[in-house]
């Protein structure tokens, strides 16, 4: 059933409705799985992927064949780890060794786990974890090593947090703790994916020398989600906003939703968004290192969703009351806009403008937020300088109008000429062949030409008097 509010939204945003239709009707995946050729257990894995991830499943399944299965299994393995970590019904004595040895579990054929509480939403994945392990065992060795290494690091990180009583009661304390937590749950994923990309030669090797870039990719997504999920997490008794930030605005973390704290609440969101925004330019820098289109889409789509979400939650008091989400149409619009680094940068610019517009001098971080937007803007300018000479301006116009650079346009022109040339050559060859055949079969071109030169364009009358010689005999 469509809600009236949704109808109203799309009535006022017809572009988003168009984007949904366009995405549903015209979207051609770059790569598609062929389920008929997959083993039963692999198909089951992809079913789990659909069940456990709303946002990532589609982009993972469109990845190039060298990476699709590895990334899908990487996701499921981390999801399994997360399902155990998340579950408060599992005793610490049981949980900790599981988390710490999860990388070894990946080598244990047939391993399953049914110790999750009945309400844990991804419980079934652990119950049937043997299918994941089975498929993991046939991955390329270098992929396996990368996934194992990240699983080990993340499992140990999670175990440290599970062990940390202070963290469990009071949540995240300092900004440094916050960064470390986000590194364990998201930055490491960025590291692992980058290593997989580089191992399959889909990304520039230099990304491995700049681990802060892949870390930033994870941090930006995670921090945005943490801001957005304030209400949901608090309802579950969890606090991820670092005390070092929120305690500047309020004494009691759960008091933000109260109407009398509105100003403090909005300023605190600003502070949190400012913290997240600090990673935005590094995310764009990272994306410049991706060499293959499906990998680029896979990496860029979550980032554009994140910047759109960040713009939506920035100084938005609804964050304290409900789960704020970008509209589906907006998401489709974003997916259509992702194509290359230039279009992604344009999307970032668009949403920075939204943030800049909502920024107010009443906010104690007003100037810092302006500077954070300026920093991203300056970075984009450094990779895509605004044209200065008239020649550059013409090139840019061409690019904006047709999506082609001038070299590409010149190339296209050349191709058209070649095409016409080929056509003319083919027609000439066929005509020549036909004339040759006619000559072989006795056609008298010499007479024909002579007659034509003589001005006689009619065919000669057949020999004999009457045209209907047999008529009289009938």
């Amino acid at each position: 059933m469509v809600k009236p509010s949704t109808l109203l939204h799309y009535a006022s945003h017809p572009n988003q409705l168009r984007a949904i239709v366009q995405w549903k009707v015209w979207h051609n995946p770059l790569h598609e799985r062929v389920p008929e050729r997959e083993t039963v257990s692999l198909r089951r894995c992809f079913e789990f992927l659909d069940l456990t991830s709303r946002s990532f499943s589609a982009v993972i399944q469109e990845l190039c064949p060298e990476l699709c299965v590895s990334v899908a299994l990487f996701y499921l393995i981390l999801r399994g780890l997360d399902t155990i970590e998340d579950d408060m019904t599992i005793a610490l004595a049981e949980k900790e060794p599981l988390l710490r040895s999860f990388d070894e579990i990946l080598g244990q054929e047939g391993w399953t786990y049914n110790g999750n509480g009945p309400n844990e939403k991804d419980r079934q994945l652990c119950v049937e974890f043997n299918v994941v392990i089975k498929e993991f065992s046939v991955l390329p060795e270098n992929h396996k090593a990368i996934i194992k290494d990240i699983t080990k690091k993340m499992g140990n990180g999670m175990a440290d947090y599970a062990n940390n009583a202070e963290h469990n009661v009071n949540g995240v304390n300092t900004i440094a703790d916050y960064d470390l937590y986000c590194h364990y749950v998201a930055g490491l994923v960025g590291e692992g994916l980058t290593r997989l990309f580089v191992a399959s030669e889909k990304a520039n090797k230099a990304l491995l020398d700049r681990p802060h870039l892949s870390n930033a990719m994870g941090m930006f997504l995670q921090k945005t989600n943490i801001i957005r999920d304030y209400a949901e997490d608090l309802a579950d008794g969890r606090r991820f906003w670092p005390k070092e930030i929120w305690s500047k605005y309020i004494t009691n973390y759960s008091d933000f939703p109260k109407p009398e704290n509105k100003d403090a609440a909005l300023n605190c969101i600003s502070d949190m968004c400012l913290n997240a925004l600090g990673h935005a330019d590094e995310c764009l820098f990272y994306l410049a290192g991706i060499k293959e289109q499906s990998v680029f889409n896979f990496a860029a789509i979550p980032q554009v969703m994140a910047i759109a979400t960040l713009a939506l939650v920035f100084r938005n008091e609804d964050v304290y009351h409900k789960n704020v989400k970008i509209a589906k149409g907006e998401a489709c619009e974003l997916m259509l806009e992702v194509g290359n680094l230039r279009t992604v940068a344009a999307v970032f610019r668009k949403y920075l403008k939204v943030i800049h517009k909502k920024n107010t001098p009443k906010d104690p971080n007003f100037l810092k937020i302006s500077a954070a937007c300026g920093k991203v803007e300056q970075f984009i300018e450094s990779i895509f300088p605004t044209p200065k000479t008239s020649e550059e301006i013409a090139t840019r116009r061409q690019l904006d109008a047709t999506g082609e650079t001038s070299e590409e346009a010149a190339m296209a022109k050349k191709e058209v000429f070649l095409l016409i040339g080929a056509l003319v050559a083919t027609l000439t060859a066929i005509s020549a062949l036909m004339i040759f055949c006619a000559w072989l079969m006795g056609a008298r071109f010499d007479i024909a030409i002579k007659e034509i030169m003589g001005g006689n364009l009619r065919p000669p009358a057949p020999p004999g008097g009457s045209i209907l010689p047999g008529h009289a005999e009938l």
Binding site: T360, P361, L367, G374, K375, E377, S382
Partner: protein, 360 residues
């Protein structure tokens, strides 16, 4: 690895050392280099004084006076921060920025000064028309200068850089952008004036233009870093892409912000936030500036709005300072946010002192 040993400075002459920038250079020198004998030469030396500093009143356009002061202070480093304020006549700029710099430069070379640090302006590359987006040192000096101030600053800078390595003296030029802070006589006071006049609701342009401002302490710091780098260079080092001498550097806070955001942040630090904003489109603002100039010309008063002011508050004007970061090791000491708070607090404090004086 141990931190690299800081280059000591023994004897520094700050020319213009009682001015806005100059006295901050003196103050920071005293803090960072307690070993240093600091001397100041300025036209008037009765204000912005610090204990332990030798003050020499003198005019840089007089070779005789300059020679005398150099002989007395015997500096190894000359920091030339001389800068006439905005809005003076062309002859003054030529006399001070060109003739004065020439005199100071020649006298310093003759006296065997080892390092010469010159204060230039980021606007030397501004033609007054085209946006400046992420501009770096490769940008040319425009053929038609924006105004006499920047024309003469560019000439002065060229002379300073050309004098590099002549008889062993090393030089650099620092191109500063949008200075503000305690003691400021232009940026912050101008914004306070608009606040007093109740003009805070108005905005020229759409505020999509980024601008670079520099907190004065950071600007002063860049001068000290440059002096340290020049003195620390081995005497026989050949000129290469890695040597810092003979070069110009853009110096800013490295935090470009939207122009009107900066202005509003200043007002907010003074406790004022406009209830709403009326944004005048760029073109309309331009004409308004022209009209205001005309009225000013007719009535003989200085107009509060000029086309140049409109241009400066609506154009993109930010710089790429990576050269200063890598070559000079420059990094701002104080963030823009903190700079605004500190700068405004200083003015509030001054006002309080003034009113207390009046009450007595």
């Amino acid at each position: 690895m141990a931190a690299p040993k800081k280059q000591p400075l023994h004897n520094v002459l700050v020319v213009g050392g009682c001015g806005f920038l100059g006295h901050h250079v003196v103050k920071l020198l005293l803090q960072q280099h307690p070993e240093c004998n600091v001397s100041v030469m300025d036209l008037h030396t009765s204000f912005n004084n610090f204990p332990g500093v030798a003050y020499y009143p003198g005019d840089i356009t007089s070779r005789e006076q300059v020679d005398k002061i150099l002989a007395q202070s015997r500096p190894e480093v000359v920091i030339d921060t001389v800068s006439p304020v905005f809005g003076l006549g062309k002859e003054i700029y030529f006399r001070v920025n060109v003739d004065g710099t020439r005199t100071l430069l020649d006298a310093s070379t003759d006296k065997g000064v080892r390092a010469f640090v010159y204060t230039s302006s980021a606007s030397v590359v501004f033609d007054g028309v085209n946006d400046m987006r992420n501009v770096n040192e490769s940008a040319p000096i425009p053929v038609v200068p924006m105004d006499a101030y920047n024309e003469t600053k560019a000439i002065g800078e060229r002379m300073v850089l050309d004098a590099n390595r002549k008889r062993g003296m090393l030089t650099v030029s620092l191109r500063l952008s949008g200075l503000f802070g305690p003691g400021d006589r232009q940026a912050l006071p101008g914004m306070f004036q608009a606040l007093e006049r109740g003009q805070t609701k108005f905005q020229l342009g759409d505020n999509s233009n980024l601008a670079d401002f520099t907190y004065i302490v950071n600007a002063a710091y860049a001068h000290i870093l440059a002096a340290e780098k020049l003195l620390g260079m081995p005497v026989d080092l050949e000129k290469a892409s890695t040597t810092v001498d003979g070069e110009a550097y853009f110096i800013t806070n490295g935090e470009p912000v939207f122009f009107w955001d900066f202005v509003r942040a200043v007002w907010a630090a003074k406790g004022h936030v406009a209830p709403y904003t009326i944004a005048l489109p760029k073109l309309l603002s331009h004409y308004a500036g022209g009209a205001s100039e005309l009225v000013g010309w007719l009535t003989g008063k200085e107009p509060s709005l000029t086309r140049m002011k409109v241009k400066l508050s609506t154009c993109q004007r930010y710089f790429d300072i990576r050269k200063a970061k890598t070559m000079l090791g420059y990094a701002p000491l104080i963030s823009l946010h903190q700079g605004v708070l500190d700068g405004v607090a200083w003015f509030v404090e001054q006002e309080k002192k003034e009113s207390e004086k009046k009450e007595q």
